[in-house]
Amino acid sequence: MMIDRQARKVLFETVAHRVIASADELTDLDRAIGDGDHGINMRRGFEAVLAAVDELSAKDLGESLKGLGTTLVMKVGGASGPLYGTLFMSLGKSLKDEVTCEQAADALAAAIEAVKARGKSDVGQKTMLDVFSPVLGVLREGGAGLSARLKSTARAAAENTIPMRAIRGRASFLGERSIGHMDPGARSSALIVDAVADVMEGFA
């Protein structure tokens, strides 16, 4: 798949608009088990992405993803800034404009490791990793109907964080009381996967 300048612009805009449209939902989730700023922070970060989208998407895919990551690092404010920033910056390190499914999977695998290191966290701790890890599994399988499977996997994975107990972040202060709520970072991750899958479907 070729991700040219126009595709990059559509991709970044779609992801940004979806996150911004769900900002209130993310904040509500975060109010239940965190400090209630996830939606506000993500909206601020992705509004900055929208403001710079022409400049960002003019660069090749690798550099534009790094630029997107840097924008999130600088503008988001909460811990999600460095975490999402690290994810996108890591993806940008290896991806070229022409992307195969296998290359995307390798890039995501490396990005997941980078996020684990940044957050000192792992799968099963009620975080964004609990979405990206199963999404990577589906991406590795590839095959027909990939976009739909990515979306359903991401959505289900975010819901699977509901019974988990938080080990990292502000939610871990709640201990057992973090159980029963969806992790806001897992939800925002699912929104991003959903948006990317939709855009890829259009360009496949």
Binding site: D37, R44, V73, M74, G77, G81, P82, T86, R170
Partner: protein, 130 residues
């Protein structure tokens, strides 16, 4: 240019950061280069990589800089800020695993004695239960 290790205070709250900085200055006056920041890029509660990088710059010392943080995001953002520094500075900045107020005062007092970055960090981290 100061001879002493610099101290940076990073809190989610500008008031906490400023108050902690005042407590540090009460102990060590101007003997220790000091930087602080608190609040997100729009002035709410939170932390900002950009502000942390600027605070490191204000507190810069050739002997290095010790950062004291409050909650999770402050630590993650501080680590990110360190990685975004010029390579020549990166390995001379550390985040201390210590309570922000007590840690900053202890670290600054140690720094004022001319201690190395590693000693300043260890002194602050003695406050953290093993």
């Amino acid at each position: 240019m100061s001879e002493n290790v610099g101290i940076v205070i990073v809190s989610h709250s500008a008031d906490v950061a400023r108050g902690t900085a005042l407590m540090v200055e009460q102990m060590v006056g101007r003997e220790v280069p000091l930087g602080w920041c608190g609040g997100d890029p729009r002035g709410g509660l939170g932390t900002s990589v950009e502000a942390i990088m600027a605070a490191i710059d204000r507190a810069w010392s050739e002997k290095g800089v010790a950062i004291l943080v409050d909650l999770g995001g402050a630590e993650t953002n501080s680590e990110m800020a360190i990685e975004m520094l010029p390579e020549s500075r990166r390995d001379r900045v550390v985040v201390c695993n210590a309570p922000v107020v007590e840690g900053a005062v202890m670290a600054a007092t140690e720094a004022a004695s001319g201690a190395t970055l590693e000693t300043v960090r260890r002194t602050a981290e003695e406050l953290t239960p093993a």
